[in-house]
Amino acid sequence: MKKIMLTLALMGTATAQTTVEFWHSFGDAKRTGWIQERADEFNKANPGTKVVPTYKGSYNDSLQATILAARQGKPPALVQIFEVGSQLALDSGVFQPVSSVKNVDFSDYIKPVINYYTIGGKVNSLPFNSSSPVLYYNKDLMKKAGLNANQPPTTFGGMLDACKKIEAAKLGVTCFGMSLNGWFIEQWMAQQGAPLLNNNNGRTARATATNLDSAAARNIFTFFKTLQDNKYYTYTGKLEDWDGSDAIFNNQKVVFHITSTADIGNNGEAAKKAGFQMGIGVLPIPSGTKRNGVVIGGASLWIPKAAPKAQAEGALDFALFMTNTANMASWHKLTGYYPVRQSSIDLLRKQGWFTQTPLQLVAFNQLTRTVPSPATAGGLNGAAIQTRKIIEEGVQKVLSGQSVDAALKEAKARADAALSEYNANFK
């Protein structure tokens, strides 16, 4: 309400000024503060434009709010939308490709990142906060188990071997404890060069089926079966419990953990407090497969169609300012999200950032060495929120003793049904 009053007041007094409402989903002081600082700088440099960033709840809430506002002709000029919502946002018809607002040179953006948001040759949204999963490990516990703490496992086979040694060392800890999250399954499909969805991951045409019956999917599910059979894996039991699994790792109850690169900062601090050395390794992948790289996760910035031209341009200008070379480098240092520009990486390198924080380098190489393909471009699917959960529930069934075959079959049937139910909206 206050915001509306403020906007109204501004519209009354300074008619020449364009107000750019920016809705984002960062509720924490650190990230909200960073965004507000950038907006203040931008507003100072561009007196004709006033960017007003607002925290609009979770990604799901702000997507909903944007769509409803757009239907009433009053959308914000800039919205942060999560990657699983991309197809949905695209299908809603509410947004315009950022590349059609104004000509932008996208050559500086890291390839795998810009690939995700390039659909049908058009860049639909501007990458903002991107991350990928990496292996976190407890160096002290590894040493106690007689493992080389400088050589973390890079494959599923390597993980299982390490787990065996950890079990034999009787440290009273479990080997591995990541949160059960469909995002990781999607990443492991990409790493094997296998699209998760048909029609080239839903990029050449609307996806109509999942590839959960593929050998790649079987590799992943079998890994969980082996982990479970040997009691090498633990989690809180709740799906997508990021915090719960971080807490288990930071309390030294597990040796290995997998989570987003965006948590390197927070987990590193927690490890220091708990008094152990934390290491970062590449995401372990199924043994005997070529490493294809990761799909970026996170969110991007979208501009609604209904935003007047001046607002849309102001929004894009601000988005480009917020993601410029220096700002992306500072964003990365603050949060651990990837700087999405090549020039930012060069800047960080020049500043010696990677020698100060060698942990971040692993994450970078993982992203920049990604082989571009439909598999690593990531799956586009309007029911992605639902299919992600279905896949998680499939893994959970394997963990509770179901066979890999039965779990995959059921997950595929359910996910495919969700896809066709979604696609029926376009008949």
């Binding site: 239907r71 809180t236 039991g237 029911a383 959970q396 963990l399």
Partner: protein, 310 residues
């Protein structure tokens, strides 16, 4: 003594509206607000229930009763309905028995009874979200307080959140705990208003404490019990949302659905996570039928079984 009563009667006799329009005129503001915020949305929901619709896409396709029949035939939805029923019966019966017992004990004239009462009532001040987070921390299988205790005492570490039976039990216990304070407040107040002479008479006549409780106090408490049964049913049906969302996210997946996914949570998932507005509206319509049935039962049972005294 007589005079004031007469004046009241006179004013009441005079307080008749002239003309039929007047009362409606006074009702108008409330009716308008109800119409905008309750009746219209309810009608819209009923309309939407007949469509396959997606909130984000803005698509609508008329399907008649298909949403409802699909729900009623879906094994997942049936399982969710059954789970909700079991959850409701367990939380309401156990919750009320437990709160009555605690309220009875806390109303005994013991030293410090005021503090016991205060401690019993305090969980009511917690929001369900906070309560859910508390339980989540306590029952984290690796680092939660509960498993650290169980681990050191009996060297067991139950999987509270992904074993279907344990997870269901945990949510039931958490919901009972969360509801205790509310029930205890009402029971405490009613117990303190029980007619002392009747209780004393029973004691003088040689009734045992158990007999006093079950034969005298309990029947006198039926009106409040009756009230609490229905408020508890409604809260089991509708307020379980925040607790399950934070504690279990409706999981673990068992058979055809998450075992702690109840009707409201399913509705939320379909409507606001997966944006299937039509299906969600159909679920809302089914829940409306359920609430109508419960209200009907409330009046029906209320007339027959409850001892209002006097």
């Amino acid at each position: 003594m007589l005079k004031p009563a007469q004046t009241t009667a006179n004013t009441e006799a005079n307080a008749v509206f002239r003309g039929a329009a007047m009362p409606w005129f006074f009702l108008l503001p409330s009716l308008l607000i109800l119409a905008v915020f309750i009746y219209l949305p309810a009608l819209q929901t009923l309309r939407l229930a007949a469509y396959k619709a997606n909130l984000i896409l803005g698509t609508e396709r008329f399907v008649g009763l298909q949403n409802v029949t699909e729900l009623l035939l879906s094994p997942a939805y049936r399982q969710v309905a059954l789970q909700t029923l079991i959850f409701m019966v367990l939380t309401v019966t156990l919750g009320l028995l437990f709160s009555l017992g605690l309220a009875w004990l806390a109303s005994r004239p013991v030293r410090g009874s005021k503090y016991y009462r205060l401690l019993l009532i305090y969980p009511y001040a917690l929001s369900p979200a906070i309560a859910g987070t508390l339980w989540l921390f306590m029952f984290n299988p690796e680092i939660g307080v509960v498993n650290q205790l169980l681990g050191s005492l009996f060297s067991v570490k139950p999987r509270w959140l992904d074993d279907p039976i344990l997870a269901f039990g945990l949510v039931v216990v958490a919901a009972i705990w969360k509801g205790l304070a509310y029930n205890i407040v009402f029971y405490l107040a009613s117990i303190q208003n029980l007619p002392g002479d009747v209780m004393q008479a029973a004691e003088i006549d040689g009734a045992t404490p158990a007999q006093v409780f079950w034969r005298v106090a309990f029947p006198l408490l039926t009106p409040i019990t009756f009230f609490l049964v229905f408020t508890n049913i409604i809260s089991a049906l509708f307020d379980s949302f925040a607790l399950t969302d934070i504690l279990t996210r409706g999981g673990p997946y068992f058979h055809n659905a998450g075992i702690t996914t109840f009707l409201v949570y399913q509705l939320y998932q379909d409507g606001f996570v997966n944006f299937k507005s039509g299906v969600a509206a159909a679920q809302a319509a089914l829940m409306l039928v359920l609430v109508a049935f419960i209200t009907f039962m409330q009046f029906k049972v209320g007339e027959k079984r409850v001892h209002y005294g006097g």
